[in-house]
Symmetry: C2
Subunit: 575 residues, 2 copies
Amino acid sequence: MKFSQMLTKRFKDTPADCQIASHIFMIRGGYMKNVGNGIYSLFPITKRITSKIEAIMREEMNRIDGQEVLFPVAMPANIWKESGRFDAIGSELVRFKDRGGNDMVLGMTHEEAAVQLARETADSYTQFPFMIYQIQTKFRDEPRARGGLIRVREFTMKDAYSFHTSKEDLEQYYQKCHKAYERIFARCGVPEVISVKSDSGMMGGKVAHEFMLCTPVGEDSLVVCSDCDFRANMETADCIYDETAKGAAEELTKVLTPGMKTIEDVCSFLGKDKSDSIKAVVYRLETDDSVCVVFIRGDIEVNETKLRNFLKSEVYPGEELDKEGIVAGFIGPKGLPEKVRTVYDISLKTRQSYVCGANEENYHYTGLNIERDLGEVQFVDVGKATEGGICPVCGSKTLKLTRGIEVGNIFQLGDRYTSSMGMKYLDKDGSLKTPIMGCYGIGVGRLAASICEARHDDYGPIWPITIAPWQVQICALRSDDEQVKAFADKLYEELQDAGIEVLYDDRQVSAGFMFSDADLTGIPVRIVVSPKGLKAGTVEVSKRDKSYLEKFEPDKVKQNVIELVRTMVAELNNI
Amino acid sequence: MKFSQMLTKRFKDTPADCQIASHIFMIRGGYMKNVGNGIYSLFPITKRITSKIEAIMREEMNRIDGQEVLFPVAMPANIWKESGRFDAIGSELVRFKDRGGNDMVLGMTHEEAAVQLARETADSYTQFPFMIYQIQTKFRDEPRARGGLIRVREFTMKDAYSFHTSKEDLEQYYQKCHKAYERIFARCGVPEVISVKSDSGMMGGKVAHEFMLCTPVGEDSLVVCSDCDFRANMETADCIYDETAKGAAEELTKVLTPGMKTIEDVCSFLGKDKSDSIKAVVYRLETDDSVCVVFIRGDIEVNETKLRNFLKSEVYPGEELDKEGIVAGFIGPKGLPEKVRTVYDISLKTRQSYVCGANEENYHYTGLNIERDLGEVQFVDVGKATEGGICPVCGSKTLKLTRGIEVGNIFQLGDRYTSSMGMKYLDKDGSLKTPIMGCYGIGVGRLAASICEARHDDYGPIWPITIAPWQVQICALRSDDEQVKAFADKLYEELQDAGIEVLYDDRQVSAGFMFSDADLTGIPVRIVVSPKGLKAGTVEVSKRDKSYLEKFEPDKVKQNVIELVRTMVAELNNI
């Protein structure tokens, strides 16, 4: 492709609404154009990147016996009603009526479509296991689209669905797919992507992993052990607390704490550490509108995902507590109205004696001993992991909190969809059984943007060669110089004939202008042809990441560039 | 791929709702599954076919300097409001509100998106011409989805948009794209596709062609000259009438024709030919609800597309005519209330004397002479071409009517979208100008089904090798036979190593069962490995279309099949 013919436009200034590097460079470099909130058209340069990512995904999915299919974007709602998700999912699921007045949805994921396709087709145990996948457009009406292609409403996704007759078989395939994902990310140039245990959310099922590219701009909080392999999403990370320093039991005493409604105020007034207090956090359950008070150690935060999973309900901050007989600011486990549901976090197993609210305006207790004063209590893990906390795997106090962008996820769905949608197969023994499923997703555009986030300098993206829009860029400085033009034209043709993808900047612009455009284009290998160089008998070849710069005699350029490209491609592909 | 592992299911019986061959075979052969009205999921076998068609399209679009982009499926309505189509298009355009209450549409075509992407990017004459294309999902809420993949509501389409600074440049590129389309259809194995002049309908613009695969099950009526190159869609075919036998003028006479309300009744009663009568057809205009009477020769039908274009309004059959002072069944040009709008078809220029209604219950005129009795009349071409009619190009009476499936279309849009959406570029002379556009579409699934329609026998599809799901099918009869299995396994590996795509039927099923499945799979080259054959020292190689059957010694099979496949592929690609 000649640069002069490419439909694109670059901008010198950073647009006002762009905060993260990938968004800035992909707007400044003319990679995409905003069509609406969280909706983009992709310019040719980006389509080339996403097509390459898709090709790598396809190869890796085929390698683990995946069969490519195509599900509809717009689906009749009936299959979503079968699975129960038509009613369960909120307004991120787009619903509309077709001309006949029928309920329709836009696919934001395709478990229902996968079961609908497979259920009358795979009806004998001999047909299992199998995996089907598609690369297709999805729409999710995100309330907070942001960060360019990182969080959009419409996106292209590779989604795969595997079907199995046993848990062991699913587990085995799940591991296989986990490895395929590692290969995909490594081949796309980001081998540092880690997988973390995650919450399966609206997908159903129990075991799930997210693949995370660690970066400070990531939306997800991760918990990683710096001593062992443990890594998890904050949402699901198990908490362990040191129970070896419980302290001594004290006498239960009611103390006047006038107007002190926060843990900080009370602890500082009483000269106690926050970890010696019980914090009360009030929620209201979506399912029955009832109130629930979570008691947790004063220095620990409530992990609402864990709480939600434990209560099996969406939760909202509790309000209008007077009606329930709750004294806001002075809530404690002793003396709380009995009808109020309570949850005790396991962090409360670590002390013999606590400061806590006395359920009376302006009063707290000191010396509360849970066993002595409250009797038997069920402890549940609903707390957030903390920096320096105990690793649930190796036991060291080595937990680190970090942030990451989720670039893929895999779920063991079990029979969540096959059972609700009535999929059955005839087993060896003649009985009808329900198969179980796994599902596996990667967003194409988000992966492209995340790679840009992880691979850029101050001037633009540094695309890994396997997904770069072109492998080589020829910058012809002074293309009006006859010798430069003749050499660059010939090199362009010869490299292309050798199967190398070349972007040829043939424009008559200044060197500075051309180089800054080349930085924004981010092509990994650059050839600079200039009148000065040719006069000196050299052509410059460099890598975009600045790790390589060589000058070759003009007739040695072609072969050296071909070898350089092949080595770079092989490095990423031969993992 | 091993047949035993493929997700698919075949059916012996023809489903009740399938009428045409492609629909029957693609359901019976497990190619797709209905998800809802006009919405299908594609099984792996079909995805392989459509991916190959897409690859051919991509190559041919790139060959004419197309740049692949990606537009959104779901778009904010504002760009459709800019072009005016948000209000102009009926319920086939899906509209919905997003969570923020904003109007959204599902793309059924992407002119608006193309202009939105290009308009601030290509702002100088130096950037023209260019063509961008995508291969993407579209949704059109068809009132009458039918025929499997022939007419669906959701479909994958290759749509291309070219931008130009002059009419000559557009015309030139249009021809180039016309040629690219011919190459696409030829490479997909249907070189017999013809292009016909067509109506541009809701797309705007004037010059348009449809690419038609002629088949009796086609939805479109075509007019084709058997003597010259003329071919057109019935909707736009110009009509020419013989004006050399006008007959003699007669006296205008009112005659009693009791209860005779049809042309047939009146002409037979008066002993006249239908071509000597004037038929009146009444319409109501959508724009202002007014009535319009079309007068046309008794033997010619009204072409409503032409009428619509002339009146610049949608038209519906006229009803409740009494109110307008119209006497249904006896309508004629003389004595009709003056306020009623009339249209005279050019077929009425062919006689001196006509039978026609007298606008009075039970009366007709004979001997009506238009010039003498009505004065000057504007004649318009709103008639349908007829079998044996006069060719507007060569003038012979050689028109034939036939039917075709529209498999592609190209339009010269002019400034229909660039002008309404305010796209401008800076011309050489420093002035701002509006570029003009062409657009070019092919539906992928419809093309696949159309090819099946054109290439099948009584037992299933005969896929052209360039788009076949696999190139070669190995049928291992008695795969439990050690020798058969060993030979077939080895051949399967060796052919794949040579880059041949092989479907290997390794199932232990009867020969009849296996062959009938192979017929439904439609793979162009078949290798039959049987115990009997191997004993006799032969392996059978045949073509699905029955034009070729050879027996080879086992160790000669591989090389012969490789050559056969290469020759077949080259035949279609080297056009």
